[in-house]
């Protein structure tokens, strides 16, 4: 079982995932054996000693001290063994090799931001090279989040005002799911991203390509991935209003006034969304995007302007 991940555990795609799985299966099978023994004994006794005579009163069974103590000693040894094993794997899972490639991860309601040393920032996809230890240095800009990649068997909470980290070394190329596993509000279940594991060469060329200057509209389109959760660009209403074709129109606000959608308004909506709230919507757009660079903001505005 275990190795191909058809059942129970997903495919093991990091160097220590296999060790975690071995431990999992050991505990799983030991528990199963003990469980089956308990259930079998129970079912057997239930039928074997079924009451047949209403007047029967069985005598107490003489308790076997040996059995009683065996039932204490054996499980104790078992759990100690599992403890030591689990501890050992845990230590290695949490001690990043010093030469690991570092990526800075920022969690916010409800998007991931991956920042590379080369000055590249991505949002819905995190590119990493295969066969090289990667260390993520993570923090949160609002509430708790948790970074979880099942295929790598890693998980760690992102705490505001504190750095936490995970590391892994991917063993195969491919795309793997990233989840947020600490409740963080309305769109907690949509706070998803992918790890894209590519070869060293591909990674190197990807990074150089990314660090080149993009035209503002394209940069904006890329950044918009994190807005796409709430804003459609095809006219449909999601959590927030659709953003295509809004430029130059009049937008009704909750306070009854209306406002012309121009560059300033878009910028203000991103930097300080609670001030002017579009009619029919809750003021739940996160304010966390104000940390963007002017270039990124220009990109976004240009992109929204370009949407027809």
């Amino acid at each position: 079982m275990g190795d191909k991940g058809v059942f129970w555990l997903p495919d093991a795609m990091s160097t220590f995932a296999g060790e975690v799985d071995a431990l999992f299966w050991f505990v799983f099978w030991t528990s199963t054996v003990l469980f089956v023994a308990v259930v079998a004994a129970k079912l057997y006794f239930m039928f074997r000693y079924k009451r047949r005579d209403e007047t029967s009163v069985p005598d107490p069974v003489h308790e076997s001290k040996l059995l009683e103590s065996a039932w204490i000693v054996v499980p104790t040894l078992l759990v100690l063994f599992v403890f030591i094993w689990g501890f050992d794997v845990y230590l290695r899972m949490n001690t990043a090799p010093p030469d690991a490639y570092e990526i800075t991860v920022r969690g916010k309601q409800w998007a991931w931001e991956f920042e590379y040393a080369e000055g590249v920032t991505t949002f819905t996809e995190m590119y990493v090279p295969v066969g090289r230890p990667v260390k993520l240095v993570m923090s949160s800009s609002d509430v708790l989040h948790s970074f979880f990649v099942p295929a790598f068997r890693v998980k760690q909470d992102l705490v505001p005002n504190r750095y936490s980290s995970v590391w892994f070394e991917a063993t195969q190329t491919g795309e793997f799911q990233i989840y947020c596993t600490e409740y963080c509000g309305t769109a907690h279940s949509a706070m998803l991203a992918k790890v894209v594991v590519v070869s060293e060469e591909e990674f190197a060329s990807w990074i150089t390509e990314q660090s080149q200057d993009l035209p503002p509209v394209e940069l904006g389109a890329q950044l918009f991935a994190q807005c796409a959760l709430c804003h459609a660009v095809d006219g449909t209403t999601k959590i927030g209003p659709a953003l295509n074709g809004i430029f130059g129109t009049q937008q009704k606000l909750t306070d009854g006034t209306s406002v012309l959608v121009d560059e300033d308004f878009i910028l203000e909506s991103i930097l300080n969304p609670a001030i002017k709230v579009a009619e029919g919507f809750q003021p739940i757009m996160p304010a966390g995007y104000s940390g963007m660079t002017p270039k990124q903001l220009d990109g976004l505005v240009a992109y929204i302007k370009s949407l027809k």
């Binding site: 949490n94 001690t95 260390k135 760690q156 005002n161 504190r162 750095y163 980290s165 995970v166």
Partner: protein, 132 residues
């Protein structure tokens, strides 16, 4: 009703204990003004524990009370100790593996600023001890 076995504390003993408590209070205030280095905290706590014990044992008459009540009280203290010590196991050792950093980001920034200015002011007070 036989209340004969209920202990009655004499006024004399109560007065002596009260006097002792007042004395210890004065003592703790005075010793706190001295600089005893690392000893200030343990000394203050030792005095507090002594005072509390006097109150429990004599004023609350636990000494003459049913033993069960003493056990109950002891268990209460034990679990306070558990709460404190197990929480400290975390907070004192935060960042012992590389999965989290020891201090907060705020602390790190403060620390950097303090180092930069080299001139520890009140705002960076707690970083006075940082080497160099």
């Amino acid at each position: 009703m036989s209340h004969a076995e209920h202990h009655i504390s004499s006024i004399k003993m109560l007065s002596i204990v009260f006097g002792g408590l007042v004395f210890l209070t004065v003592a703790t205030v005075l010793t706190a003004q001295l600089d005893l280095g690392g000893l200030n905290v343990p000394l203050a706590m030792a005095i507090a524990v002594t005072k509390a014990s006097l109150v429990v044992v004599i004023f609350m008459a636990l000494k003459w009370d049913n033993k069960v009540n003493a056990v109950i009280f002891g268990i209460g203290l034990l679990f306070v100790a558990v709460f404190i010590s197990f929480t400290l196991l975390d907070t004192l050792f935060r960042g012992d593996l590389s999965n989290t950093t020891e201090g907060t980001i705020q602390d790190q920034t403060l620390e950097e600023e303090a180092l930069k200015s080299r001139e520890p002011d009140a705002a960076a007070l707690e970083f006075n001890q940082i080497p160099q």
